[in-house]
């Protein structure tokens, strides 16, 4: 559904995105994660045809990203989307429906359906008088006005209260279940983990890792073993009358067992812990830094 | 009436420094310079089109004279130091000379009867669409006015009124004096207040539209402090600019009196425009509406000052040219009182505005 080939964007001397390559399958939920300033937004905007890449190309739903026709198949939600505050949700949405060539009858039905689903009341109130969460819902309704096959959401839940955030994440998940392809960015990894099929990790303009969560886990994740012994072994700390040592491989676990036996004690418990996406992310960033430093 | 709390000055300082950072103040001064230059050009240019003494007068006008009474014109020409006359017997010949560019104009003088007497009827042909036309017409007018004077003297017995003698023209007076004091200086002094008010509108509506007013509000500052700060900055900016203009004019040997009083007047006017700007900014909250209303309203207010016994522009002229009367000072005082009370009213209004509603 989406192909990005070596997307690169320069702003003067500053390289915002440096060769980003990934592809998104039909019906997939794809996450772009990374810290602020990693180039996520620029990448999404290149996909949406808002920003012209300095080099490389992207196709979305079978169209070149710069082809205006592509936009009729796309629902784009920018990170901050100030609406025209003097308009009401209804007038705002029907204005955009016209721009997307949605026939009037279809548009009316779709607007109301979507607003119903989003549980948005006050459809005749001025947007300027609405809360941030309500405005976000209107913005999401706008991204669905043309019943697009592809949704590109930039930080869909940023700056919202936890309740609304949850709601919007769930709504996005539901859209994916309905068969839409969703690409979104986040710096809050919790959302990504909960709904993403695959992710690409970006840092300082480069995409540093990509794959599904298991693959990433295998490559960058670490399994740590907490070995609890009855006697003190090198590197252990006392904890609740027992000693705990944290190691990173099964070999080390064996060595710890041996050491405990020699000291006249024994291993009483071993717990494994897998790293979260957040830790994966930190590891990726860390390994890049080390590599660059070395 | 200004509350000397530091927060007020912080806001004022922020506004002034943001102005200077954006170099807009430089731009503002450039624009005023441009407007002043433009209006000066207009007036000086027009004056030179009209004032023969300011036009290069080396060249003598060459006139073809025809008609039965051409002698009279020759007599008048002797009175003025002007044109060189060429006599033609036939008007067609004269027109021919005109068409070929040998003479600047053709003047025919004949006698015609009108009512109970006769008049000298002068028909003058001057070139159309020629840069020299202006000069030719002006010279021609001098010549014909001299002719008229001579004729009047001749027929003086038939007149009840004896014309008052026109004082001789050797003083070398400048026609720009009146312009400088009655148009240029008022323009320069009233532009800064106008722009100040306009900037306040921008400043307030921009904060509202960008939503930065909320950020300011979470700091321990009241809306009233914010408004005070913005207003203060802009009110004070106006007399500073006015002072610069005055100094500039003085550097050009244009004496300007009552500088202090003038600055009070400018400050008062700036306060009024700023108050208008503040209210419109807060009431509409949108720049487009506020600016439109602001310019229309200020123009109206300025137009309405015609109703005053003394127009503010005249007040400026009289003060600066040292012809001020008690009325003049009373007007300055009146403006100051109006400005202060308007400001007080607006502060009360701002105090009652609910910041959440913006």
């Amino acid at each position: 559904m989406i192909e990005a080939q070596n997307l690169r964007k320069e702003y003067g001397d500053f390289v915002a995105v440096d060769g980003s390559t990934f592809s998104v399958q039909d019906g997939e939920v794809f996450g772009i994660i990374g810290p602020n300033g990693a180039g996520k937004t620029t990448t999404l905007k290149m996909l949406a045809g808002l920003v012209e890449p300095t080099a490389g190309e992207a196709t979305v739903a079978g169209y070149d990203a710069n082809d205006r026709e592509m936009r009729t198949h796309l629902g784009f939600l920018p990170e901050e989307s100030p609406l025209y505050e003097e308009m009401t949700p209804l007038s705002y949405l029907s204005f955009f429906a016209d721009l997307y060539d949605v026939p009037d009858g279809v548009a009316d039905r779709r607007i109301h359906e979507t607003l119903d689903e989003l549980e948005l009341e006050h459809r005749e109130r001025q947007l300027g008088d609405m809360s941030k969460g309500m405005k976000r819902k209107v913005a999401i309704a706008r991204s669905l006005i043309n019943d697009p096959a592809v949704l590109i959401y930039d930080e869909p839940a940023s700056g919202l209260d936890p309740l609304t955030t949850n709601y919007i994440i769930e709504f996005t998940e539901q859209l994916a279940r309905e068969g839409k392809t969703v690409v979104f960015s986040a710096h809050n990894l919790f959302h990504v983990e909960s709904i993403c099929d695959r992710v690409v990790i970006m840092n300082e303009g480069e995409s540093v890792a990509r794959g599904d969560l298991d693959e990433l886990q295998a490559e960058y994740g670490e399994t740590t073993y907490h070995v609890y012994t009855t006697v003190e072994v090198p590197g252990s700390v006392r904890e609740n009358g027992r000693y705990r040592r944290v190691v990173e491989s099964m070999d080390a676990v064996e060595r710890t067992r041996e050491a405990a036996r020699q000291a006249g004690g024994s291993v009483v418990d071993i717990r494994t812990e897998e790293s979260s996406l957040e830790e994966v992310f930190l590891n990726v960033a860390d390994s890049r830094k080390r590599r660059r430093g070395g | 009436m200004f509350d000397p709390r530091s927060s007020l000055f912080t806001v004022a300082k922020r506004d002034i420094s943001s102005l200077s950072r954006e170099k807009t103040i430089v731009l503002a001064i450039c624009i005023q310079l441009f407007i002043a230059g433009f209006s000066s050009f207009l007036v000086v240019g027009l004056t030179s089109l009209y004032d023969p003494s300011s036009v290069d007068s080396e060249e003598r006008l060459e006139l073809a004279v025809t008609g039965e009474d051409q002698e009279k014109l020759v007599g008048a020409a002797a009175e003025t130091d002007g044109p060189q006359l060429f006599r033609y017997d036939d008007r067609e010949d004269a027109i021919g000379a005109f068409d070929s560019g040998d003479v600047d104009a053709v003047v025919s003088v004949s006698r015609s009867s009108a009512g109970d007497g006769t008049r000298l009827r002068v028909e003058a042909v001057v070139p159309a669409e020629d840069l020299k036309t202006t000069l030719i017409v002006v010279r021609l007018r001098e010549l014909l006015t001299a002719l008229e004077r001579l004729e009047r003297t001749e027929r003086g017995a038939q007149l009840e009124f004896t014309p008052v003698e026109v004082p001789s023209d050797d003083a070398g007076s400048s026609s720009y004096f009146g312009f400088t004091y009655t148009i240029l200086l008022p323009l320069l002094l009233f532009l800064p207040p106008f722009i100040s008010g306009s900037i306040v509108v921008d400043s307030i509506t921009e904060e509202i539209e960008r939503g930065t007013l909320e950020l300011l509000r979470v700091s321990p500052v009241d809306l009233i402090d914010i408004v005070d700060g913005k207003a203060l900055a802009m009110v004070l900016l106006a007399p500073v600019q006015a002072l610069l203009w005055i100094l500039l004019l003085r550097a050009n040997d244009i004496a300007i009196d009552h500088v202090g009083t003038l600055l009070v007047l400018v400050t008062a006017v700036a306060t009024i425009t700023v108050v208008v700007g503040v209210v419109l900014g807060l009431v509409t909250g949108r720049r487009r509406q506020a600016q439109l209303l602001y310019s229309v309203l200020v123009i109206l207010l300025f137009g309405a000052t015609v109703l005053l016994p003394e127009h503010p522009a005249r007040t400026v002229a009289l003060l600066s040219a040292d012809s001020a009367t008690t009325t003049t000072f009373a007007h300055v005082g009146g403006f100051a009182v109006v400005a202060l009370s308007l400001y007080a009213v607006v502060r009360r209004y701002v105090g009652r505005v609910d910041p959440e509603s913006l």
């Binding site: 003067g12 012209e52 205006r68 009729t72 609406l83 025209y84 007038s91 016209d98 721009l99 060539d101 913005a139 | 441009f34 433009f38 050009f41 207009l42 007036v43 240019g45 009209y50 070929s100 009512g115 109970d116 006769t118 008049r119 009827r121 028909e123 003058a124 042909v125 001057v126 070139p127 159309a128 669409e129 021609l140 008229e148 009047r152 009840e160 009124f161 008052v164 026109v166 003083a171 026609s175 720009y176 009146g178 312009f179 900037i199 921009e206 960008r210 004496a255 509409t284 487009r288 600016q291 439109l292 109206l300 015609v306 127009h311 005249r314 002229a317 040219a321 040292d322 012809s323 009367t325």
Partner: protein, 654 residues
């Protein structure tokens, strides 16, 4: 571009404030304007008298000048003042009997000058009361403007119904004074045939003169100071008559003031327009519109259309109103057509300005600059409507002529309206180049934005630019490598209308200065042409569109120079067809037409300017490739070379 979507956006722009605030604003503005309408008669009628009481005069009632001085509000009478008061500056003039004393300072001298005018006016007013009109005004003048060498009638003047086309129509009934009868002779060639009409009788003219404005009775020229006193002008002034005091140089004052009415509403219009454009850029508000399947031209067009139509509606009301008031009939189509490019120019400049401005404050200054600059562009040349063809660079001149019922040829119309139309096109084009996500929402400086705007149409090396890519199907050669250079040359050519307007404006502004004006005009020409040829080249080096290098820079110089040359010559040829007399003068300025053998003419007309433009453009391009300072220096050098060339040519020709 999709007209339907453009219209949808236009409709949205008009109706989105349906909440009511805009209607309220309009209502309030309307009420204020109505109030203003109430004040206006006061302004016009009473006269503001800005210089009332400016000069103080020590005079006793016994002096013959007492009634004179007491009659003029400019003077304040200070009875009993003595020489000490004069010395102290408490009075400016001091009368001792019939002699007047003054001091040698500007104010005193100005008072004296004012006194002279006052005495003349006073005399004329008193004489108007005389029984014996012919003795009071023994001279009557009929002034006829005549096109030299053009036989009897002047081609520009169409006065078949001039019998009622006189000046007084503007304010009074058409047949209230004899001035009207006397004024316009139908046949300028044979003035002596109409002696029986009697020429204007100043006595009657004076009677109507005190009541109204804009008539040409003898009272005119009386009531304003500052050297502007004598300004009066009939609306159709092929002939003027009256007493000697009434004749004044050709100056379409009234028409000019009326024409000014066309410009005033534009200044309000652009305030609102600038706001709406800038507010799209604030808080990324316009981003979603950009992301929708609408081209930016639709967006810009849609947002502009209501303002253009609104502006034209206002102008129509003004035009129709003016023609009904002035001529008593419907009309003003030509005026309206002439004003349309002006409306577009105001909007275009504001659009670009709003794309440059970073905040509302900046926008205010940008708008004020546009107001002042464009108003002077429109207004100043129109002052010279009756003087020179150069006045035609302003479309307002057409309005003035239209108001004077003069015929306007198609060539003149085109000459007047094409440059502002093209300029507005360039403004919109450059602004549209910035109407992208990347440029709209950042806070770059004005200078940076100017460079961004200029570099917009120039494609990257090997990259595609929509503009130049469109040429591909039509051109057999593979243009891809040359594209960038074509774009640079093309951009130079696009800037020609600006160069043209600025140059002609400079001529209009400077020609009054006499001898020196030619040199000054040449300086302006050199400056503006060199900037137009090189600024975008500098911008594209800054934006790394080209790798710095001598060869590239020289090639760019050639591209820019050639582009300039072609556009200039095409503009000149167009003028030759439309307005020969002006074009010849221009050609002389460009170093063009010299009498002599054909080959020499060709060489001078074509070859020399081409070489000049290429050489100077190359100089500045080389500088531009090396950096900011080097560009500045090279630009100055190019200007000097250009100036030297122009001076040489002019010296050779003159």
């Amino acid at each position: 571009m999709t007209p339907r979507k453009l219209l949808r956006i236009a409709w949205w722009e008009v109706t989105r404030n349906a909440g009511g605030i805009d209607r309220r604003t309009l209502a309030v503005a309307f009420v204020i304007l109505a109030l203003f309408g109430l004040v206006t008669p006061l302004l016009l009628d009473g006269g503001v008298g800005l210089d009332d009481g400016l000069y103080r005069v020590g005079i006793d009632e016994s002096s013959p000048y007492y009634p004179v001085v007491a009659d003029d509000e400019t003077f304040v009478v200070r009875p009993g003042a003595d020489r000490a008061d004069l010395r102290n500056g408490d009075v400016e003039l001091l009368f001792e009997g019939a002699t007047v004393q003054f001091r040698d300072n500007p104010k005193s001298l100005a008072a004296y000058g004012e006194l002279r005018g006052t005495v003349e006016r006073f005399n004329n007013e008193q004489l108007r009361l005389e029984e014996n009109g012919t003795a009071a005004f023994p001279v009557s003048v009929l002034l006829e403007y005549r096109q030299r060498g053009g036989g009897g009638d002047s081609p520009r003047i169409e006065d078949d119904d001039a019998g009622d086309g006189g000046a007084s129509d503007g304010t009074g009934p058409a047949d209230d004074g004899e001035v009207d009868d006397a004024g316009p002779g139908d046949d300028p060639g044979s003035g002596d045939g109409e002696e029986t009409d009697g020429t204007g009788d100043p006595t009657d003219g004076g009677g109507s003169g005190t009541g109204g404005t804009g008539d040409r009775g003898p009272s005119l020229g009386g009531d304003s100071g500052g050297g502007l006193g004598g300004i009066s002008g009939p609306l159709s002034d092929d002939q003027v008559s009256g007493s000697p005091a009434d004749i004044s140089p050709p100056f379409p004052f009234q028409s000019l003031v009326l024409a000014f009415l066309f410009v005033i509403p534009l200044n309000f219009l652009i305030q609102a327009y600038g706001s709406t454009i800038l507010s799209e850029r604030i808080n990324r508000r316009g981003e979603l519109l950009l992301a929708s399947p609408v081209s930016r031209f639709d967006i810009i067009g849609g947002k502009t259309l209501p303002y253009f139509l609104g502006g034209m509606a206002l102008e129509s009301v003004i035009a129709i109103g003016l023609f009904v008031v002035v001529h008593g009939e419907l009309g003003g189509v030509v005026s309206l057509l002439a004003v349309a490019p002006l409306v577009l120019l105001f909007l275009g400049a504001t659009f670009l300005g709003a794309m440059f401005a970073r905040s509302f404050k900046e926008l205010t200054f940008v708008t004020v600059t546009i107001t002042v600059t464009l108003t002077s562009y429109a207004f100043v040349p129109a002052i010279f409507t009756d003087v020179g063809a150069v006045a035609l660079i302003s479309p307002l001149t057409l309005v003035v002529r239209d108001l004077q019922n003069e015929a306007i040829t198609l060539g003149e119309f085109t000459f007047s309206t094409a440059p502002p139309l093209l300029c507005s096109g360039v403004f919109f084009g450059l602004g549209a180049g910035l109407y992208r996500e990347e440029d709209m929402f950042d806070q770059r400086s004005l200078r940076g934005r100017l460079l961004d705007a200029l570099v917009g149409p120039i494609p990257r090396a090997g990259g595609s630019s929509r503009l130049t890519a469109r040429l591909d199907p039509y051109v057999a050669l593979d243009l891809r490598t040359a594209r960038q250079y074509v774009a640079v040359g093309g951009l130079t050519a696009t800037l020609i209308p600006f160069v043209f307007v600025v140059q002609l404006l400079a001529i209009a502004l400077l020609f009054a200065l006499g001898e020196i004006s030619l040199i000054l005009v040449l300086v302006v020409v050199a400056i503006i042409e060199e900037i137009a040829k090189s600024l975008h080249v500098y911008a594209s080096f800054q934006h790394r569109r080209f790798e710095p290098g001598l060869k590239t820079a020289l090639a760019l110089g050639v591209a820019s120079g050639v582009g300039f040359f072609f556009a200039e010559k095409i503009a000149l040829l167009a003028q030759l067809v439309g307005l020969p007399e002006l074009a010849v003068g221009e050609a002389g300025l460009q170093g063009g037409i010299v009498p002599g053998p054909f080959a020499l003419t060709v060489a001078l007309f074509l070859l020399a300017p081409l070489v000049l433009h290429v050489v100077t453009a190359a100089i500045s391009a080389v500088g531009a490739s090396r950096g900011k300072r080097q560009y500045g220096i090279a630009l100055c050098l190019a200007m000097l070379v250009h100036l030297a060339y122009n001076l040489t040519v002019v010296m050779a020709v003159v």
